[in-house]
C-alpha cells in the first residue's frame, strides 16, 4: 500500500445561503485515480473547487500531503502540487499558447514536466504556439489546459468534465494521454459524465448525491454494487 495523499473529512460548503456540500469525505493514495460520480447538481464541481479553496469550505478538513489546507490560498495549493482543470477549461483568450505555457512559474530545475515533454504528450500543440487559445477546438483547448496544469508540476490533478463537448476520437486520444500520466506516477481525481470512460481510467469511485458522499470504494466493488448505481446514478 502506498501513502495517503489526500484526505477529505466531512466537507461543508455554502453557495450564498444554499448549503451545497453537506458532508463530503474520501481519501486518496499516491498514484490513485478516483472517479467522482453523481447526478447533475449533486455537488461534484463544488467538491473539486472546495479542494483547492476556490470555494471556501465552511467546515471540514482537506489534508493534502499531511497539511491542512484550511485558509490556504489557491495559489499556494497549486504550488504544493494540487491543481484543477475546470469545466470551462479556463482559457486565456488574450494569450497565445506560448504565453499561456510560459507564464507558469517554474522555480526548481528538477521539474518533472518541461515543454519538450508536453509536446511529446500532445504533439499538436507544438505547431500552434503563436495562436490564441480562443481559436482552438474543444479538444485542443483541453490539451492546452492539461498541459498548463502539468507545468505546475502537480502531484494530484483534478479534472472537471474533461470530455465534455469533445468528439469521440478526441476523447480516446485524451484518455490515452491521461492513462500515460497515471503511469508516470501522477494521481488524478476525475469528474465525468461519461461513466464508462471514467471507469476505464479510475481505480476508485466516490458517489455524491445531494451534496453528501453516498458511497466510496474500489472500482470493482462499485461495478458489482448495482444498488448504488441505480439509486444515485440512475444506471
Amino acid at each position: 500500500m502506498s501513502n495517503v495523499l489526500l484526505n477529505v473529512e466531512n466537507l461543508n460548503t455554502y453557495y450564498g445561503k444554499s448549503h451545497i456540500l453537506q458532508g463530503i469525505s474520501f481519501s486518496l493514495s499516491d498514484n490513485d485515480c478516483m472517479a467522482i460520480l453523481g447526478r447533475n447538481g449533486a455537488g461534484k464541481t463544488t467538491t473539486l473547487r472546495s479542494l483547492v479553496n476556490l470555494s471556501k469550505p465552511d467546515s471540514g478538513n482537506v489534508i493534502f500531503m499531511d497539511e491542512n489546507l484550511k485558509n490556504i490560498k489557491p495559489y499556494y495549493i497549486a504550488e504544493k502540487g494540487m491543481t484543477l482543470v475546470p469545466e470551462n477549461r479556463g482559457m486565456f483568450p488574450s494569450l497565445t499558447v506560448e504565453e499561456s505555457l510560459s507564464i507558469i512559474s517554474q522555480y526548481n530545475s528538477n521539474n518533472l514536466w518541461t515543454l519538450p515533454k508536453i509536446f511529446e504528450l500532445f504533439p499538436s500543440l507544438k505547431h500552434r504556439l503563436k495562436n490564441k487559445s480562443n481559436e482552438f477546438s474543444g479538444g485542443e483547448q483541453q490539451m492546452l489546459a492539461i498541459s498548463r496544469a502539468l507545468l505546475t508540476n502537480p502531484k494530484l490533478l483534478l479534472l472537471d468534465e474533461p470530455t465534455q463537448g469533445l468528439a469521440p476520437n478526441i476523447v480516446n486520444e485524451l484518455f490515452k494521454a491521461l492513462s500515460s500520466l497515471l503511469k508516470s506516477g501522477l494521481s488524478i481525481i476525475i469528474v465525468e459524465q461519461n461513466i464508462k470512460m471514467a471507469l476505464n481510467l479510475a481505480n476508485k469511485v466516490s458517489v455524491i448525491g445531494k451534496g453528501k458522499t453516498k458511497w466510496t470504494g474500489s472500482k470493482s466493488k462499485f461495478q458489482n454494487n448495482t444498488g448504488v448505481q441505480k439509486e444515485w446514478l440512475g444506471i
Partner: protein
Amino acid sequence: MDYMEDKMKAVNYNPRLRLHLFIVLVVSALISIFFGGYFTRFFIAEIAILSIFAMSLDFLAARGGLVSLGHAMFLGIGAYSTTIFILNLGISPFIATILSLLIGCFIGLLISYFIVVLNGIFFIMVTLALGEMFHAWVFTSELLGGSDGISGIIRPDISFMGIDMNDPFIFAIYSLLWMSLIYFILSRITDSPLGRNLDALRQNHMRLSAIGGYAKVYKIIAFTISSGVASIAGSLYVQLNGFISPELTHWTVSGEGLIMIIVGGIGSISGAILGASVVYILQHELSNFISWWMLIVGLLFILVVLFMQDGLWGLIEKLRLRLLKGKNKI
C-alpha cells in the same frame, strides 16, 4: 461569473421587525412634529421625502439586484414635471404628483427596457451617465430655469377642507402620509409572489435566466416601480421647498441615497427610512459645527461599508436576538 453573483449579500428580510422599526420611526417623527418648532417640522418633512427616495433605491437594489447611480434623474423628473404642471398648466399639486408618478414610471419603463440587460458594473455606469445627461440638459434648459432653477412653486391648496398646506405642521404630516403609503405598498410587493420572484432572481441570477426572458421582465418591473417612487419623492420635494434647481439631479445625490440604504440596511425597507434619517441628521448636525465634516462623513461611510454588512438594521436585529435570548433565560 456565477460565483461572483453568488457573493451578493443576502437581503434583510423580516416583516415583523420591519413593521416594528417603521412604527417606531413614524412615532418619533410624529413626536418631533408635535413638539418641535417651525424648523423641525420642515426637517422631518424633508427626511420623510428623502426616505421615499431611499426606499425607491432600496427596492431597486434589494428586489431588482440593480444599483443605480442615476436615480436622482427621477427625482428631477418628478420635481420638474410637477413644477410645470403647477406653474404652467395650473394643475392642482396633488394631481400633479400623481401625474409625475406616471411620467416617472413611463420613463423608467422606457429606459429600463434598454439597460436592464447590462450586468452590475455596466449598469451602474450607464445609469450614472444617463443621470448626468439629464443633469446637463436641465442645467442649460431655458424652459426649466437653467442653472438657477425655478422658484415660487405652491403647495397643494386644500383650504376648502379647512387645511392650510403652507403650515409646515400640516405639510410634515402630509409627507409622512406619503411615506407611509409607499412603505406599505413596497412592503406588500416585497411579500407578494412578485416580490419572491424578484428575490429569487436577485439571488440566483443564472438559474432564472434559464427560464427565458422573464428575468428581464422582472427587472423592468422593479426598475419601473422604483422610478415611480423616486418621482413621487421629487414631486413632494418641490412642494416642500417651493423651488427646484438642477443640483437635485446630480449623481452625488444618488450616491448619498445609496449610502443611506447601506447605513440603514439594504432590503429592509424601513431600514431605508432609518438610514435616511441618520445620514441626513448626521450631515446636518456635523456641518453646523465643523467645516471639514465631509472628511468625517466619508470615513463613516467607509467604516459602514467595511464593517456593517447589514447596516443599522443588522445591528438592531442582533440586539433583538440578544434581548430575546436574555428574556428566555429568565
